[in-house]
Assembly symmetry: D3
Homo-oligomer: 240 residues x 6
C-alpha cells in the first residue's frame, strides 16, 4: 500500500554518522532513507544576555535547507533576506526538543548552538534533525566535560530525545512518512519523546479531513514504537 513498499509500521533505513565534518564539537550526518541532514553542535563559553548571571546554560537551534535539497529549487533564505515561517517554526521545535535533554544548571554558563542543515530532503526533515542533533549534542557535552576549563562537573545530559513522524495515509496510520506519503497524507503528526518514554512534543495536523481520537491513538502507538528503534540506533552510534 505504501509507495515505498514498506509495512505501515516500518521505518526507513536510518543511519547516524558521527564526526561528519571536522570543525564542530559534535557533527553528525543523519539519514532517514533519502532525507539527509548535517547536524552540528557548536560550543561557546557564556550565555545569551537574558540568562547572564543565573548560573545556567543554554541550547538553541537553527535549521536550513540547501536550495536544491528538494525536487524543485527553493529560493535561498539568506538571499531573500529572511527565514520563512516554516523554518522558524522548525528551528524553534528543534531547540525546545533538545533543551528537554539537558540539565541547564549542570551545563553552567555555556551555550550549545545546534545547526541542522538539510542537504537532501525526502520527508521528515524535522524529525531526522532532532534525532541526529541529539547525538551531536552528546558529543558536544562530552567535549565540554573533558575540557576542565568549562567547569562542568556532572553530566548535563538528562536523557536522549528522538523524533519521528506518523500520519494517516489512505486512511491508515503509517510510520515515518517519506515525501510521497507526506504530500498526500490526510494527517501529519510529529512526535518527540525521551528515551524514557515520556512525551516532549506532539504536533498533529489534519491537512484535509479532521481525525478521530481513535486515529490519534493509533498514530501515537506507531510513534512510540518508532522512537524506541531510533533510541537504539542513537545508542549504537554513540557506542561505536
Amino acid at each position: 500500500m505504501r509507495p515505498s513498499g514498506r509495512r505501515v509500521d516500518q521505518m526507513r533505513t536510518v543511519r547516524i554518522t558521527r564526526n561528519y565534518t571536522k570543525h564542530a564539537e559534535g557533527s553528525v550526518l543523519v539519514e532517514f532513507g533519502d532525507t539527509k541532514v548535517i547536524c552540528t553542535a557548536s560550543v561557546t563559553r557564556g550565555v545569551p544576555r537574558f540568562l547572564k548571571g543565573q548560573g545556567q546554560g543554554w541550547v538553541t537551534a537553527e535549521y536550513g535547507m540547501l536550495p536544491r535539497a528538494t525536487s524543485t529549487r527553493n529560493d535561498r533564505e539568506a538571499a531573500r533576506g529572511k527565514q520563512g515561517g516554516r523554518t522558524l517554526e522548525i528551528q524553534r521545535l528543534i531547540g525546545r526538543a533538545l533543551r528537554a535533554a539537558v540539565d541547564m544548571k549542570k551545563l553552567g554558563e555555556n551555550t550549545i548552538n545546534i545547526d541542522c542543515d538539510v542537504i537532501q530532503a525526502d520527508g521528515g526533515t524535522r524529525t531526522a534533525s532532532i534525532t541526529g542533533a541529539c547525538v551531536a549534542l552528546v558529543d558536544a557535552l562530552n567535549f565540554i566535560r573533558q575540557d576542565k576549563s568549562f567547569g562542568v562537573k556532572h553530566d548535563p545530559l538528562k536523557q536522549m530525545v528522538a523524533a519521528v513522524s506518523v500520519g494517516i495515509y489512505k486512511d491508515k496510520a503509517v510510520l515515518d512518512l517519506d515525501y510521497d506519503e507526506d504530500s498526500a497524507a490526510e494527517t501529519d503528526m510529529n512526535v518527540i519523546m525521551t528515551s524514557n518514554g515520556g512525551f516532549v512534543e506532539v504536533q498533529g495536523t489534519a491537512e484535509g479531513e479532521s481525525y478521530s481520537r481513535a486515529q490519534l491513538n493509533e498514530m501515537l502507538e506507531l510513534a512510540e514504537q518508532g522512537i524506541k528503534e531510533l533510541c537504539t540506533l542513537q545508542r549504537a552510534a554513540l557506542a561505536g
Copy 2:
C-alpha cells in the same frame, strides 16, 4: 488550587461580540476572561498567484499584539522590522485551523484575510483568536453569499472550528489556562477541533518534565469538553 479559584475543568467567562468595528465584513471581539482579541475577516476578490485559475478560494490569517497588551511592553514588530517566530507560528496555526472550516471550491476565487489583534493578553491568545475568528469568518462568508457578484452559490462553511488550551499545572490536568497558570505549567497543549468533534490540530509541549500517555489523555478529555462549550457560545453569538 488554581490561582483564579476555578475548577480544573472550568473555563473562564467567554464573550463573543459581533460587529465590533464597522469596516470589516466580519468583526468580532472575543474575550476569554481578561484575554481580549479583535478578529476581523476581510473579503477580497481574487486569490494569491499560486492559486490563480484553479477555481478555488483562500483563507489566510495574520496575528499581532498591541505593544502593551502584556504586563511589560513588547517592542512593536512593525518598528523592529519583522514579525517574530512566535507570531509567525501562531498566524500559521490560525490560518490552517480556519481553512479546515471552509470548502475552498465553494468559495470560488475569493480570498478572506483574517486579522487577530490582541488588545489585552492573559494567556490563551491563540485559542481565543481561532474561536473568535471563526465567527468573523462566518459573517464574511454570509456577506459573500448575499452579494451575488461574488458568484458563490453554496455555503462554503463546512463546519465551525474552535480551540482551547489545556495543560498540566501542579501535576493536574486543567482547562483553559490563564497567564499565571500558563507561565508555571509543566505542559501546555493547544487543541483545535471541529464542531463535529474531529481533531484539526493538537500541539502539546512539555515545558519542564515530559508527560505521560495518561496525562495526554486527560488533557484531551478536558479539551473536548471545553470545545463543546465554545461551540455552543459560537452558535449563540451567530444566532444573536
Copy 3:
C-alpha cells in the same frame, strides 16, 4: 453642507475612556466620532542611550493601525517589514506634541512610551491620538509620582496638549474633518495647542489649490475653538 450634517464649527462627539486595558500605567480609548484609538502610556526606568547621565527623562511615541481599521484592508506593517512614511511621520508628530507637555528635568531618568493604535479609522486619527494620549500620559505621570522609587518629587506635567484637524472643504473652513470630508478637502491642517492657548505645531497642506492667508486665519480660529472644547473634555476625564 457637511456630509455628516454638522455645522462648520461643530466637532464630532468626543469620548475619552480611561483604564481601557489593564496592564498599562495609562490606558485610554479615545473616540472622535467613529475614529477610535487605544492610547497607552508605559513607564520604564532609565532613558535611551543618547540621554544617559543628563538627569532628564524621555517621552516617545509609536503609532499603528489595525489592518482593517479602514474601509479597505491595508497590509500589516509588521508583515511588510517596515513602517511606512506616513506612520513614521505621525508617530514623530505625536512624540513631539507630548514632549511639549512634560518637564523632562522633573521626570528624572525615566521613560514613557506612548502607543497609539487605531482600531477604527474615520479621519483625524493623529489628532485623536494626541488628545487621548495626553490623558494616558497624565495617568502614567501620576503613577510615577506615587511610586517613590522613581524619585520624582515635582509634577512633571507642564500643561495639557490637545489636537484637532481643520480644513477647507467645498471652499469653507470646517472643524474636525471626518474621512468623507478629509478625502475631498482642498486643504487639511492639523493644529496642536497647549491648554494655555499656545501653538505646539501647525501643519497645513494644500491638497489641490493653494490656500490664502485669510483661509489660513479662518482655519486657525476654528482650531483654537475646537481645542478649547477638547481641553475641557480632557479635564473632565481626568476628574472622573
Copy 4:
C-alpha cells in the same frame, strides 16, 4: 543679533546653477549660503501602477544627505538598510510641494523623479531642495515638451513653488535660519508657497516653548517676503 550678522529679514546668498550634472533632464545645484543641494529631475515614460490608465502623470521625490554633509558624520542610510523617519518626512514634503506646481493631466502618463541630495548642510536643506528642485522640474518639463514622442501638448507647469524657513530665535522672528540658529531656535517653521502667493504648506513646530498667534503672523510675513525673493531668483536662473 544673528550669529551670521544678518538682519532678521535677510536671506543668505542664494545661488541656482542649472545643468550641474550632465545626465539628468533637469539638474540644478542650489545653494542657500553654505547649504548645497544637487537637485535632479529624471523623466520616465509611464506611471506607477496605482495611476495606470488614468491619463495623468506623476511627480515624486527622494531626499538624501551625503554621510559627511554635516559637522559630524551620519551613518549612510543605504548601509543601515533603511531611510530614517526624518528623510521620509522630508521627501514626502518635497514631493507634495512639487506636485502643486504641475498639472498632472497635461503631463500625460509620464513620471518625473526628483532627487535632492545634500552635499553640504548648514540649515534649511528641505527648503533649499524644494526651491532648487522646482527649477530642475521646469527643465525636465521643457525636455518633455520638446520631444514630441511624450505626447505633451500644453505646458504642464501651473506655477513655480519655492520654500523658505522662518523661526523664533532669541524671541525674534527671523528669516532663513542657518544651522547655528536652527539648533537654538524656539520655533522652526517651513513655508512653501506658489509664485502666485498661495500657501502650499505651512509646518511650524515649537521646539521649546509654544508660540503665540502673533508670532505665527510675524513668521508668515517674513516667509512671504523671502519667497518673493526666491521666485525672482528662480525666474532669473530659468531665463539665464
Copy 5:
C-alpha cells in the same frame, strides 16, 4: 616550508564526485583537501525579466557556508537577514566565471542556477566552488540537451573553466593555499582560466606588503600549472 609539507607547486588532493545529491540536474561534491563544497546546477525554463525575448539563456550562482563549516561558528546569513559583502562578492565571481563557459545563444531561453554550499572550509572555497560547479553545469547542460522540449540543438558548452588560488607565503609563491597559509599569506591571488589556457579572471590582493611584477609572474605560472591539473580531473570526472 609549507605547514602541510607540500611542495610550493603541489596542489592538495582534489576529488570530484558527481551525482552527490539526487534532485538537482547537476550535483557535485568537490574536495580540495579538507575544503568540501556541494555544487548543484538547477535547470529552469525561461530567463530573468531583463533577458526576456532575446533568445538567449542565463547562468547565475549563489554561494553559502554552513555556519559551522569553519573553525568557529559564523552567524547564519539567513538569520542575520542578509548576505554579507564577502558572500555577494564570491557568488558574483562564480557566476561570471561560469558564464564564460557557456554560449548563451545556444542555451536558448533557459536558466541554470548554480548553488555552491561549503560544508567544510579549509581555504580556497571559491576556487573549489568554481571548479566543481563547472562539472555540475556540464551535467545540467547534458540534461537540457537530452530533453528535446528545451529546444537546445547545439551544445552550449564553449569550454570548461577551473580556478585555483596562489599566493606569496613566507616570501615564496605557492600553489593552492590551505587555511593556515591563507591566513598568513602576504598576497592572495585567485585565478580562473579556461581549459584552452585563456584567463577569465585574475584577482590578486596584497594583504600586507605590496607585491612586485616578478612575484605576480611567478604566481601566474603556478596557477597555469594548477589549472591544467584541475582540467584533467574535471575531464576524468565527466568521463567516469
Copy 6:
C-alpha cells in the same frame, strides 16, 4: 580608434580639488574626465569593537552613487533597503586599498571613514574614488597629527596609493576606459599600486573572450604608466 579620440596610453584629464566641502577633515572632488566623485575622510576617536585594546587604528570606506549619476536613473539604495553587490564589492576594494597606505600602529586607536560618492559617472568610478580618497586621507592624517589630543606622534602614512582601469578594447590594450569603452570592452582590469611601484590589487575580468598572458602584460604596463601620472597629480594637489 577610441571613441574619445585618445591614444591607447592616454588618460582623461584628471583634476583633484581639495577642501571641496567644509565639514570633513579631508574632502576632495576627483574628476577623471566626466567621472566626478566626492571623497571625504572623517576622523573619529576609537576603533570598531573587533580592534579595541590592540593599540592600532582603522580605515574603512563606503561607496555610493547619486541615483542620477548615470545616464538612466538607478534606484536609490537607501530606498531599496540595501546596498547592492556591486556597491559592497567596490567599497570593500576601496577600503583594502587605502589600508595599504596607512601604518595602523602609528595611527593609534583612531578611525578614518572614507566616503566616496559619485555625483556623475562616466566609467572608472572605483579607480577615481581610490585616487581621490587617498588625498582626502592624507588631509585627515595631517589633521590628526596637528591635534595633539589624538596622540599620534609619527606620520601614519606609509605611501600613497592610486588606481586606474585598463582593458582590451577592440583587441587593443587601452588606458583609463570611459563608459563607452567600458561597456564594449572584452576585458576590464582595475589596478591599484603604491607610489613605490608595488601592486596592491589587480582585478582583471574577461567580459567576453578570455585574455592571454601577453594581453595581461600589455595591460599591466599601461596601468603602471597611468598610475605614475596619477601619483604626480596627487603630489601636486597635496603641495598646492
